[in-house]
């Protein structure tokens, strides 16, 4: 997403200031502001992080400490779609490891990487609370359960065709 190099759009800056004003102290809006930026650009670039830090009255390093702390805040670009495959205990028992191998082999990438066409990033994730339908995964914001190789292959085809 090349626009990650450009400054934050004025309406987004305004939205962040509103969030900050709702908090007792502006830094209380740190995670919400970073999530807003990520929702717009897919990830949080260093330029954007510095702008947000400035808006919240924090140092960039301070805010980066927060940004890098959380699993769901991305400080590197990701693909158009993110597949988060659960690797916690219930999904492990139900076979998430061979599924992850299959997914990565099919896409030709390792966990944590993005396909060359920038369509899909694969990230292992901790328990997503769908253990009665393990193995489970989150595809962008949608929860999938009882995942098998057939459903993964179908999903990959669909995601590649979806902007």
């Amino acid at each position: 997403m090349s626009t990650a190099d450009a400054p934050l759009p004025a309406p987004l800056r305004a939205e962040i200031l509103v969030l900050a004003a709702q908090e007792l102290h502006p830094r209380g809006a740190a995670v919400a502001a970073l999530r807003l930026v990520q929702a717009r650009f897919g990830w949080v670039s260093t330029g954007h992080l510095c702008e947000v830090a400035d808006l919240l009255g924090m140092s960039a390093d301070d805010l980066d400490g927060v940004a890098t702390y959380f699993n769901l805040l991305f400080r590197r670009p990701v693909g158009r779609h993110v597949i988060m495959l659960c690797d916690s205990v219930s999904c492990w028992i139900m076979g998430c490891e061979p599924l992850c191998d299959h997914l990565c082999r099919t896409l030709g990438i390792q966990p944590g990487e993005t396909t060359a066409d920038n369509a899909i990033t694969v990230l292992p994730t901790v328990c997503i609370g769908h253990c009665d339908h393990a193995p489970a995964m989150l595809v962008d914001t949608t929860l999938h359960g009882d995942v098998d190789t057939v459903c993964l292959d179908h999903l990959i085809d669909t995601l590649r065709d979806t902007p």
Binding site: E23, L72, L73, P98, H130, D132, H133
Partner: protein
């Protein structure tokens, strides 16, 4: 509520129909408790009723809810900033009970929060929601908006003089945020490291103000306690604890899921009756009764009553009440390695024993599972279990939680550890190599 249900928490939950809206919630008996509380009960009455109901925290620690509230300074909400926070950061592996409540009936949580806030006189409500719960987030925002529109949230609710509103904080994924002081630190826009206590959150919590952090399931019980009375609620439990509990089971059982049952229901009934027993071709080897941070129980413990005291007597903890089942074709060392990988990754890194000890434990287990473990590795594992385990020499309960399955596993699966090391390989090479075999026995 109107009809006294013995499954009050889930009575209104119908996954096919979606969550009830404000009117449907009211028709099914909702808002009775809030009307009753704001229409004439004193805040102290609420605390007293909840104490008498024998409700204990459903997040895992099991502290008496009424007692937890009793430490909050009694100033009226209008005179002192106080917070009531719903802990919806459900990240304990194997646990999905709060998601069901959040998605199935978010207004029940809203009403529970109104009651708790009125009891402790907190004017500010926050739902600390884990970032991965997208559907819950949408439904919660909708429910709060609707409740606000109908006058259940905001200034001077029902003309009572009590004002309270709820803000949803969508977190961004870290297990330790479920620890209440780490949660407060996260809300303050900092790396979510736990805080030392005292001060306890009830006196010095969010931004230094008195704060109560209660689990979602805990809060969802409140409308039923206030509407139907503490004695009725206490009577729902089979043993010493009051109410119902959402229990669950995952792993190779026939019908994995979650069920609201009287607290104190025997483990055997949950697994054999509700979860339908093991899948054909599998036998139950052991289980974690309440999430990843609870100690293993073996098949001889199935008759334990799933309440706080009984599970502790059996050598584990009730935890979240969501059991993870280990079958006889899955390697216990592989399972413990997976658990320790989770704990190592989710350590906040604040204190050295946890930050460095957990990855060490994970590496030792990986070596043993891969067949390169040495006999003395067992001493290192035992030493870690002792040094990081409860009561612990670490800053918070994360490492002791991580050591619960390890310490119990070292005892319960001693022969498996020895076999791995002696033969230089996992004797169950295909145990976790199979594809999803929910539909039947592996070939």
């Amino acid at each position: 509520m109107t009809l006294l249900s013995d499954r009050p928490l889930t009575a209104m939950i119908d996954p096919a129909a979606g969550p009830p809206d404000c009117a449907a919630y009211g028709r099914a008996g909702g808002w009775q408790a809030a009307r009753r509380a704001l229409g004439g009960l004193a805040p102290a009455d609420i605390i007293d009723m909840v104490t008498r109901s024998k409700l204990r925290g459903r997040g895992g620690a099991g502290f008496s809810t009424g007692q937890k509230w009793s430490f909050v300074p009694k100033d009226p909400a209008s005179e002192r900033r106080k917070y009531l926070i719903a802990n919806a950061d459900e990240m304990e592996p194997g646990t999905f009970k709060d998601r069901l409540l959040l998605e199935g009936n978010p207004l029940q949580l809203v009403e529970g929060m109104i009651l708790a806030a009125y009891g402790v006189q907190a004017g500010h409500g926050i739902v600390f929601l884990r970032g991965e719960y997208h559907l819950a987030c949408t439904r919660l925002h909708h429910a709060i908006g609707e409740a606000r529109q109908q006058g259940w949230l905001g200034e001077n609710i029902l003309g009572s003089g009590f004002s309270f509103d709820i803000h949803v904080h969508s977190s961004a994924g870290r297990y330790i945020c479920g620890e209440e002081t780490a949660l407060l630190t996260a809300l303050e826009g900092r790396r979510a490291t736990p805080r030392s206590k005292p001060p306890f959150p009830q006196t010095g919590g969010l931004w230094g103000a008195p704060s109560v952090v209660n689990n979602v399931e805990t809060l969802c019980n409140l409308p039923h306690i206030i509407a139907n009375g503490p004695e009725w609620f206490a009577g729902l439990g089979l043993g010493e604890d009051g109410g119902t509990k959402i229990y669950g089971a995952s792993g190779r059982v026939t019908k994995p899921g979650a069920w609201e049952l009287p607290i104190g229901t025997p483990l055997r009934q949950i697994i054999e009756e509700h979860a339908g027993g093991m899948l054909p071709g599998y036998r139950l080897r052991a289980l974690l009764p309440g999430g990843a941070s609870t100690a293993f129980l073996d098949a001889t413990s199935l008759d334990v009553a799933m309440d706080y005291g009984s599970v502790e007597k059996a050598g584990s903890r009730l935890g979240t009440g969501m059991a993870i089942i280990l079958d006889d074709r899955t390697c216990p060392i592989g399972m413990i390695r997976n658990l320790e990988h989770f704990f190592a990754q989710e350590s906040c890194g604040w204190c050295t024993p946890c930050r460095d000890g957990l990855p060490w434990v994970e590496r030792l287990l990986t070596a043993i599972e891969d067949g390169t473990g040495q006999a003395e590795d067992m001493d290192h594992l035992a030493r870690h279990a002792r040094m990081l385990g409860a009561p612990g020499r670490t800053f918070c309960a994360h490492a002791p939680g991580a050591m619960a399955p390890l310490a119990s596993g070292l005892k319960l699966f001693a022969a498996d550890f020895t076999d791995h090391i002696r033969h230089g390989r996992c004797p169950l090479p295909a145990a976790h190599g199979g594809m999803n075999t929910r539909q039947g026995a592996p070939s």
